[in-house]
């Protein structure tokens, strides 16, 4: 019955009778599957829902708790297999392409054209939103992975400044250690080890090496000498971490910076979201800077929503409204203020953002030009999940054992090869 009536509605719309509105058709409906359930994120999603409803739309919320993508993606698989895909799903990077290849994504070229998305977005971001040249997803933010944070009070206490090179970092770490402060706040979870490692890859090897090794997965780059140097640096950093770091969450590491028991943290800008949630101010209570060697690099992570096909006319209309609202400056501002990231649109005013966000925005513009604007492999922007998993395994094994750098590089090349085959 429901299907028949929606078919009728579809036919009526096709004949141009949609204007009848309330009597013929219900409201444009969108069902959003996402895992933005923590405080600030949930608030941002709520503002989007309000926008949607003020325009006469209907919002079906399908949140998946826990803040991680796994359960959500499992749910998505089940829904798609059952022929009942949600209209829009929080997805990013190569996953959009993988779903696109299954032929279940809904092109929204008309929305993108009307909103001039092509002009508003960096080229490399726009490319990941398209499948075979058609827009199938809308981006909401840009996270930067390679950030380094410190507590200025701690730096002052031991008489150091933000290090610009790894040699300076080593000196600073020695001073911090002597003062009984943990030099590097780090959480010992596999993904955190891998995130740190990716920052070191782009820092030691530069953006071109990062591209070759972690995006193109060149076996020579993965197992080569530069990669050994990367692991040498990782081994050094391991010495700066407190013995008790195993299994620690990233936000606990962040609180070590805030309460002054640790010197530096190297982690993505979600740290900033947590700092501001704790009432800390950028520049005063904490400082952020490029980690050594990353003046020319920007490891980006773009969160986005992919659109899934539906036969229901209301849902298609809802999807388009939703996509349009996602890219509107109003939502981009609200959302990114809450999340610590920056808007993905390059044509926006950033009056309300803090100094770290402004620095990130400038840095993004600079690196987009210079070619240092690189997709993060560890955060699902560049390689399939199997490859990322293989890299993570080797890196975390190296970090948590006394494996030599040569052995780690060799294993890395082997594991990536095995995951790709």
């Amino acid at each position: 019955m429901r299907q028949a009536s929606s078919l009728l509605r579809g036919a009526a719309c096709a004949l141009g009778l949609c204007l009848g509105g309330a009597t013929v058709s219900a409201a444009p409906t969108v069902e959003v599957l996402h895992w933005m359930t923590s405080g600030g994120q949930a608030k941002a999603m709520k503002s989007l829902k309000d926008d949607m409803e003020s325009q006469g739309g209907k919002w079906i919320d399908t949140p998946v708790g826990g803040g991680s993508s796994e359960e959500a993606l499992t749910k998505l698989r089940a829904r798609v297999l059952g022929g009942d895909a949600p209209s829009s799903v929080q997805l990013k990077g190569p996953l959009i392409q993988e779903w696109g290849a299954l032929g279940v994504l809904q092109p929204i070229d008309d929305v993108a054209a009307a909103g001039k998305w092509e002009q508003a977005l960096p080229k490399s971001v726009a490319a990941t939103m398209k499948y075979k040249g058609q827009w199938v997803a809308a981006p909401v933010n840009v996270h930067r992975l390679d950030w380094m944070y410190a507590n200025p009070a701690v730096l002052k206490k031991v008489g150091i400044t933000m290090p610009a090179t790894w040699e300076q970092f080593d000196t600073a770490a020695a001073k911090l250690k002597a003062a009984g402060i943990t030099p590097l706040a780090h959480g010992g979870q596999a993904w955190q080890d891998a995130s740190l490692w990716e920052v070191i890859v782009i820092s030691v090897g530069g953006p071109a090496f990062h591209q070759k090794a972690l995006v193109e997965l060149d076996p020579k780059a993965l197992g080569g000498e530069t990669m050994q140097k990367v692991f040498d640096r990782m081994r050094k950093l391991r010495g700066y971490v407190d013995p008790n770091f195993s299994g620690r969450d990233w936000n606990l590491a962040t609180s070590m910076i805030m309460n002054g028991t640790a010197g530096f943290q190297i982690m993505g800008d979600w740290v900033k979201g947590d700092m501001s949630a704790a009432g800390k101010q950028a520049g005063k209570d904490y400082v952020c800077a490029n980690p050594p060697g990353t003046d020319n690099a920007f490891l980006f992570i773009v969160d986005s929503f992919a659109m899934f096909k539906s036969k229901d006319a209301d849902r298609l209309a809802g999807q388009k409204l939703f996509a349009r609202l996602l890219m509107e400056p109003r939502f981009q501002e609200n959302f990114n203020l809450a999340k610590g990231s920056i808007p993905v649109r390059t044509d926006m005013k950033l009056d309300k953002f803090d100094s770290c966000a402004l620095a990130a925005s400038d840095h993004m513009a600079k690196t987009v030009k210079s070619g240092g604007f690189a997709p993060s492999a560890i955060h699902d922007m560049a390689v399939p999940m199997a490859v990322k998993g293989a890299m993570t395994d080797v890196v975390t094994k190296h970090f948590n054992s006394d494996m030599s750098s040569a052995e780690a590089a060799r294993r890395l090349a082997d594991a990536v090869k095995l995951a790709r085959e």
Partner: protein
């Protein structure tokens, strides 16, 4: 066919068959139905991390079963001595079973964390040389999982043994006593051999708990440090749901099934052979 049989056939054996089928395909993110042979298995056995999970399963499963049986039997025998407050003690021993593995894991994680729990408390008491940091040591972390697992399950095993002990024919015990056998002799020679079926149930319960153990590790160490406490179940979850590799995940599941079968089938065979009990 009875409805239960039909349901079992579909939802147990049907899914097992589907998983086995999947393990011979090249499925990645979504199931594909084209058979490509043993590829997933060769891939699986080439992975270093799989080796670690197998080794961990042997250590964890072996110790978990042996310690649980020993401790459960000891507690049951001690409780069986007509002591006072038996009901209260029984409740206390059985209580951990009322908690979920997630709760147990989280609590033990905190207790074993050198910066928060046991080690720190002992340091605060003044013994600063004390060291117990197994949970953050890749070589010993798996043993902390054994400790928490045994703490959780030994009460249940005790209850199973206690019930069996109470079913032992008291006349035989009295007769042995009259003949001058000591209590340990009576237990060792008469009572324990007569509760063989309880061992059977306990081993079956423990074996499958060990192989499918997942939440305890997730809560305690999340497989870490690195992947030092990885078990096949966690490996399977990672492959199937985090790494979009359904074929390898299914192959892992099949390997796990084979492990359980390898333990349980011979045992079932030896225990349930007709006439065995009346020899």
């Amino acid at each position: 066919m009875a409805p239960t049989a039909a349901v079992t056939l579909v939802f147990v054996y049907g899914f097992i068959a589907w998983t086995v089928y999947m393990s011979f395909t090249g499925s990645r993110m979504m199931p594909v139905y084209e058979l490509i042979g043993f590829d997933a298995y060769t891939r699986l056995w080439q992975m270093e991390r799989w080796g670690v999970s197998i080794r961990n399963l042997l250590i964890f499963g072996g110790l978990f079963m042996v310690l649980n049986l020993a401790l459960g039997l000891l507690l049951a025998v001690l409780l069986d001595q007509r002591i006072r407050f038996e009901g209260t003690l029984r409740a206390i021993f059985l209580y951990p079973m009322a908690l979920s593995f997630i709760v147990t894991g989280t609590v033990w994680k905190w207790m074993l964390n050198p910066g928060l729990g046991l080690e720190r408390s002992v340091h605060l008491l003044g013994w600063t040389g004390f060291k117990f940091d197994w949970i953050i040591n890749p070589d010993y972390a798996i043993y902390t999982i054994v400790i928490a697992g045994v703490w959780q399950t030994s009460g249940l095993i005790m209850a199973m043994f206690l019930a069996a002990l109470r079913g032992v024919d008291q006349d035989v015990v009295k007769a042995a006593y009259m003949d001058g056998a000591s209590m340990p002799q009576i237990y060792w020679g008469i009572i324990i051999p007569s509760i063989r079926p309880a061992f059977f149930s306990a081993i079956v319960v423990l074996a499958h708990l060990a192989v499918k153990s997942f939440d305890l590790v997730i809560a305690m160490t999340n497989g870490g440090p690195g992947y030092a406490t990885d078990l096949p179940s966690i490996f399977m979850y990672a492959m199937s749901f985090q790494r979009n590799n359904i074929a390898v995940g299914s192959a892992t599941a099949v390997m796990m099934l084979c492990t359980v079968m390898a333990i349980v089938v011979p045992y079932l065979y030896s225990e349930l052979r007709p006439g065995r009990r009346h020899e």
